[in-house]
Amino acid sequence: MTTKETPKACPAEEQPSVCTAPPASADPAASAPKTSRRDFLKAGGMLSMSTLMGTAALMTQSDDAHAAAEWAEHFQKNYRLMTDAEKAEARARLERRYSQEYGKQVTVDTTGPQPGVLMGYALNIRKCIGCRRCVHACVAENNQSRGTKPGEKIEWIQVLRMERGKFEQGKMDHGYPEGLGIQVGGNAYTPAGQVLEGQYHYTPEAVPEQDATYMPIACMQCEKPPCVKVCPVRTTYREADGPVVIDYNWCIGCRMCMGACPYWARRINLTSPVLPKEEMNPVTHYLGNRPRMRGVVEKCHWCLQRTRHGRYPACVEVCPVGARKFGNLLDPESEVSKILERKNVFRLKAELNTFPKFFYFYD
């Protein structure tokens, strides 16, 4: 890998400047062409919700929206089995609860997959400079837990920092046999590619570093996801437009999916997520970045709250070198389709037959 293609060193610790304010287009009420059906359902939903809330409040002897919503959530169905009315109900319930909890108007989008769309992602590993702005943008956009204690901090993207290896003359005889010993391979190469604990939390003075290469990874949104197969309650599944999502309200926290994932893309909420009110992103999706609860698994979902309304995921938008590309794989004119057609492309751990929709390429 050469350094000439990477841009000049730039400060690594620049704060992400985007994505915390609600993007206008991501607001389902503003973006999608007005559907009278949704309004109707919403009204109906509100009505039935208020009935349910009344019952729940009576049962819990509390008129607190949080307690009432939690009570109702305990008995709600798996998201995929909900009728449209029930979805609207769940949505309204959550919107009310989150708005009260975080002190701002929170929207919970329930937009489904759009026909003719299969989302795909491409990443130019030659361009990545390891600034980790994608990580910070992702945390800000997707309401991840920000705690400082171990187990409270959750990041969906890791940018693996790997030292460049080199052949050294001094190591040529390393492991060479003596006497009748058998040559089992001396290695003059400095092992590269090993990642140790926390090495994706590096904070260099400036990036890119001379002696490092970077490998950003996150959920690969596999076509044949091992995590979906092992889930005992079908809480995680692949949406029609590609992303693998989790119904946070149905997850039992058994962590089988985490064991099955070959890309270490899933995180368990060991405790209630630490999400400061002022940092909470109020534009959310039911299957995406809405606040999670204790004991459930979460993961990257390609910013459904944005991408289902024609925007880029936060990490794509923030990348300063344009290494990240996103688009519709079914559209031959999309950027991703053109990259797949023209560039040298590979997928991680292809031998496992997971068929990621996350492609790496280089020029």
Partner: protein
């Protein structure tokens, strides 16, 4: 119906009576159970953060004990099988005690499942009809199915047998025997499915091999009978109930050779993995020698190897094997060795290094240790109750007397 209430009342009445030793034993178990209930409450209010688990190593002591205890439950078949298939006299007399052990082991497994879940309050999502059951795709779904089935089968077989002894009615072999045969085959299925649970994950190369089920069965049929031998010796020394020498000797033979097979399989795995020493052997290498300066599990692994090998050697020596004063020593050694091998030696290193190559270590917290200990205490509590009642019935101390 009246018979049934009398059965329950007599059973409870018999179990409640006991000497100082019995009350001291049950009392100390109860203390541990109370401690367990407190930390379980803590874990369910604070979250799993009170454990040593992380997103890297997300299965720890609980899962390890779960896997081990499934083996202990399956091990009960080493009594039931010789009793019914070979009509072994000594075994036939105590077969029901093996079933009682299986019941308490499965109950412990269920409790470890609850401890392991991030959201135990949502476990009803797994129930068919009201929840969703990802069947037949999810191995965990299969595991729940076989474990519940095994619990039910053993409860029916065991208590029907006791019931017949209690009332003096003859056993209806027409349906009892088929059920026993199903239970015997089912015992194999529980540990096989538990092995599949982890060996079907290519993301974890250390587990991804087809030797896992047979290794599980071999260790199960060593660890389970070890516990049973210990229980039998305690019963012989503390109650009037006499367990035949022949039963204990047969169990010793089974333990010896299953232990031998387990050691052979471990050795085969080590050779295959470490000869080529691919990247996929990193987990095993970490376990045996440590990786990148992290060596937390190395003493555990070698401790387990020493325990298993030396107990195997001790079992081979006739003067020790046949001396019931000395027999508990190799039994405890083998049991402890296999417990380490299943826990620290199998579950934890499966996550080290992580799929992205991160080497990180796991330190169980006090909460985890106490919860684990408490569940074991609860298991022994149940086991004592079941065994005491069963012995009472087998001895004829409790018998149905028709009310005038």
């Amino acid at each position: 119906m009246q018979q049934l209430t009398r059965f329950a009342a007599d059973y409870v009445g018999y179990v409640l009576k006991g000497g100082t030793k019995f009350y001291a034993w049950m009392g100390s178990l109860a203390v541990l159970i109370v401690g367990m209930m407190y930390v379980f409450y803590l874990q369910n209010t604070e979250g799993l953060i009170v454990t040593g688990m992380t997103s890297q190593i997300h299965d720890g002591l609980y899962f390890a004990n779960l896997v081990f205890l499934v083996g202990v439950a399956a091990g009960a078949v080493t009594i039931v099988f010789p009793a019914y298939a070979y009509h072994h006299e000594g075994m036939h007399k105590v077969a029901v005690l093996g079933e009682m052990l299986a019941i308490s082991a499965v109950i412990m497994v269920t409790m470890f499942v609850f401890a392991h879940m991030g959201r135990p309050d949502r476990l009803w999502h797994m129930l068919p009809l009201i929840g969703i059951y990802n069947f037949p795709h999810s191995m965990l779904g299969w595991d729940v199915l076989v474990l519940t089935g095994y619990l039910i089968l053993n409860a029916i077989c065991g208590f029907y047998y006791l019931w017949c002894k209690y009332t003096g009615k003859p056993i209806n072999y027409k349906w009892f025997m088929p059920l026993v045969w199903v239970a015997i085959v089912w015992a194999l299925s529980i540990h096989t499915v538990t092995a599949f649970l982890i060996s079907t994950m290519p993301a974890r190369p250390m587990w991804f091999h087809s030797m896992m089920p047979i290794r599980f069965i071999a260790t199960a049929f060593a660890a389970g009978p070890c516990l049973i031998i210990l229980a039998f010796l305690i019963i012989r020394n503390n109650t009037k109930f006499w367990v035949d020498d022949s039963a204990i000797k047969l169990l010793t033979t089974i333990v010896t050779w299953c232990l031998g097979i387990a050691l052979f399989l471990t050795l085969s795995e080590v050779v295959v993995e470490l000869y080529a020493r691919t990247e996929h052997a990193n987990g095993l290498y970490y376990l045996m020698f440590g990786l990148h300066g992290l060596t937390n599990l190395v003493p555990w692994f070698w401790g387990a190897v020493i325990l298993m090998v030396s107990s195997f050697v001790l079992f081979l020596i006739p003067s020790i094997r046949n001396n019931f004063k000395l027999l508990p020593i190799p039994c405890v050694m083998a049991f402890a060795g296999i417990w380490i091998e299943k826990g620290m030696g199998l579950i934890v290193p499966g996550f080290i290094p992580t799929p992205i190559g991160e080497v990180t270590e796991y330190y169980p917290t006090f909460v985890e240790w106490l919860l684990t200990l408490g569940i074991w205490a609860f298991g022994f509590f149940i086991l004592t109750i079941l065994l005491k009642g069963a012995i009472g019935i087998l001895q004829g101390d409790i018998k149905y007397v028709a009310a005038k």
